[in-house]
Amino acid sequence: MPEITYREALAQALREEMHRDEKVYLIGEDIGAYGGSYAVTKGFLSEFGAQRVIDAPIAEMGIVGTAIGAAMDGLRPVAELMTINFAVLALDQIVNHAAKLHYMFGGEITVPMVVRTVSGWGQLGATHSQSFESWFAHIPGLKVVTPATPSDAKGMLKSAIRGSDPVIFIEHSLLYGIKGEVPEGDHLLPLVGAQVLREGRDVTLVSYSRMAILALRVAAKLAQQGIEAEVVDMRALRPLDMQPAIESVMKTNHAVVLSEDWRTGGMGGELAAQIYEHAFDYLDAPIGRVAAEEVPMPYSKVLEQLVVPDENKIIKAVHEVLGR
């Protein structure tokens, strides 16, 4: 199987689906002439033309709203919101509209739309370094996908496009460069279903997106200390598949949940609460929670490094949970 980057995997998914179905089109800011702010759609404008690769005005509500409308009428838009920070501007369209229509109109309207957007940070300052996945995960009617690997990036994006529900597809800017094996052609993965990425008997690391990759790296380090960590990648945050995490904790009796968002009201609280609830009698210690410090992200590198979860914080949390 060829090794390609997360970025290439996404591009492959988009390209294949666009070739397969004329009703699939892309819309977003600077996805065409500029080549995509993270270069995912580089070359697409010349390959598919301006009708199907639409450089939109800076108008997040307009981008998502017109995509919803087009989806209602049978097209299959893939809307790109340049970063998740700007998705905040489109929340009314996503939450009050896309998520509601199928249910609210008694099943008569469908919204086969994908919204691709990106989390991440890197001295981008307070307005440009946020993670809002828990907000989306809170909304019935949405599917929320957070792929960590190139294979998932491709396989889940293709399924998102083929499915008929509104999908919030959250990429991570610090993952675009990672490589992995990705099946060529029709590689379709379900949009729900957590997975064990690494087995271990001592502690379960529950995570998604970039933190799942970090968890793998940490697990390798922990192994050198004689700690065998099991890594569970949630992969999608709505619907949530808690089973693998719960089963893992029943085996390891210890868990640390990892996310990049702010702690209070973040994804980690929900994941922990469900594990506590369903593995109550199996836990030997409170679940560790590693998340971002609760401050607007400072620009200065020295402060930013304190805010974001890193390997050391995870290792520290594991040690605490294991009482070492």
Binding site: N96, G106, G107
Partner: protein, 351 residues
């Protein structure tokens, strides 16, 4: 009762006087049928709204109820000026549009009762009811929220090279919100087949036009997009129809979007809960007595001899019967079943 007729065939026959008379008679019949249909739709809307008001006070309808009484000429004119395959997307004051677009009054009322026989199976309610097979995409209760959706439908039409037009209806108060701007720019930029039709009823809830909008000539907001704007009497169904038709023809032939402003007035409060502290009773009375769209149509038709009081009386009876039947339908329709609660969250459960 047929829906809006196609144009009269118009060929002048052979040339005898009889043929000409025949043609005139045929024309008169067509005119009568068409205008009586407008009358019928407006009456049906009004009577249905009166029925909903009654049902609301009886507790059969919950939540917010926004009546369309006084504004019937706009909905009926919009539908008369467009084709059945054209699309309609409106704000929450939507019952009249559903009816004009051909929805059955029974399922509309049943929706308000929260019954499973409702057009949206009782899930949407007064503010969110749709009848998609008639290309009525629904009422939407977030002010301005439907404007991008309607624009997207127009985008789809253009993308798929279909010969259809979208009408997106909103109130005067909705033209100040960001989504209006984003949508109109996109529609003008991409030359989409859409008509933005503003029902200017002089108030957004209790806030007067001049308190909420820098430009009180709403149609002039089109100038910010290089789009044609047009203002007209929204109490005259024929005027509405003609202006909508012009804009629809422009849209259909690739001329892009328009912003239309129909001057109208709601005879009732914003919703059933409105104490109406913000306007004078005399102002309402003035409109009611002098500018009732139904009276305006009948007096014109009577004067021109297109239809008679006899005709309207007949229609009134039919409408009354329809309301009774609708009410019966809505009453008898069952409530949704508890086990259906989780239906229609997703289309693909396992994708």
């Amino acid at each position: 009762m047929t829906t809006e007729m196609t144009k009269p065939t118009g060929e002048a026959g052979t040339n005898g006087k009889a043929a000409a008379e025949d043609l005139a008679a045929r024309q008169h019949d067509l005119d009568k049928e068409r205008h009586l249909e407008y009358y019928r739709q407006m009456m049906l809307i009004r009577r249905l709204e009166e029925k909903t008001a009654e049902s609301y006070t009886q507790g059969k309808i919950g939540g917010f109820l926004h009546l369309y009484i006084g504004e019937e000429a706009v909905a009926v004119g919009v539908v008369a000026g467009t084709e059945p395959q054209d699309h309609l997307v409106t704000h929450y004051r939507d019952h009249g549009y559903a009816i004009a677009k051909g929805s059955e009054p029974g399922p509309v009322l049943a929706e308000l009762y929260g019954k499973s026989g409702g057009v949206s199976k009782g899930r949407g309610g007064s503010m969110h009811l749709a009848d998609v097979k008639r290309h009525f995409w629904g009422g939407y209760a977030i002010v301005g929220g439907h404007i991008p959706l309607a624009t997207g439908i127009a985008h789809s039409i253009k993308y798929q090279k279909k010969n259809e037009v979208v009408v997106c209806v909103m109130g005067d108060g909705s033209t100040n919100i960001g989504m209006f701007h984003e949508s109109l720019n996109i529609a003008a930029l991409w030359k989409l087949p859409i008509i933005y039709l503003v029902e200017n009823n002089l108030f957004g809830m209790g806030t007067a036009l001049s308190t909420h909008s820098s430009l009180t000539e709403i149609h002039q907001k089109a100038r910010g997009y290089g789009m044609p704007g047009d203002k007209f009497d929204g109490m005259d169904i024929l005027t509405v129809r003609d202006h909508v038709k012009t804009a629809a023809e422009r849209a259909r032939s690739g001329g892009g979007p328009s912003l239309l402003e129909a001057m109208t007035y709601r005879f009732r409060g914003h919703s059933m809960a409105d104490p109406q502290l913000y306007r004078e009773k005399t102002e309402i009375e003035e409109w009611r007595t002098k500018r009732d769209p139904i009276l305006l149509l009948t007096s014109k038709m009577y004067a021109q001899g297109i239809f008679s009081e006899e005709d309207t009386k007949q229609v009134d009876e039919q409408v009354d019967a329809q309301i009774i039947a609708a009410s019966k339908f809505a009453e008898e329709s069952p409530f949704p079943k508890p086990e259906e609660l989780y239906d229609n969250i997703y289309v693909n459960e396992n994708y």
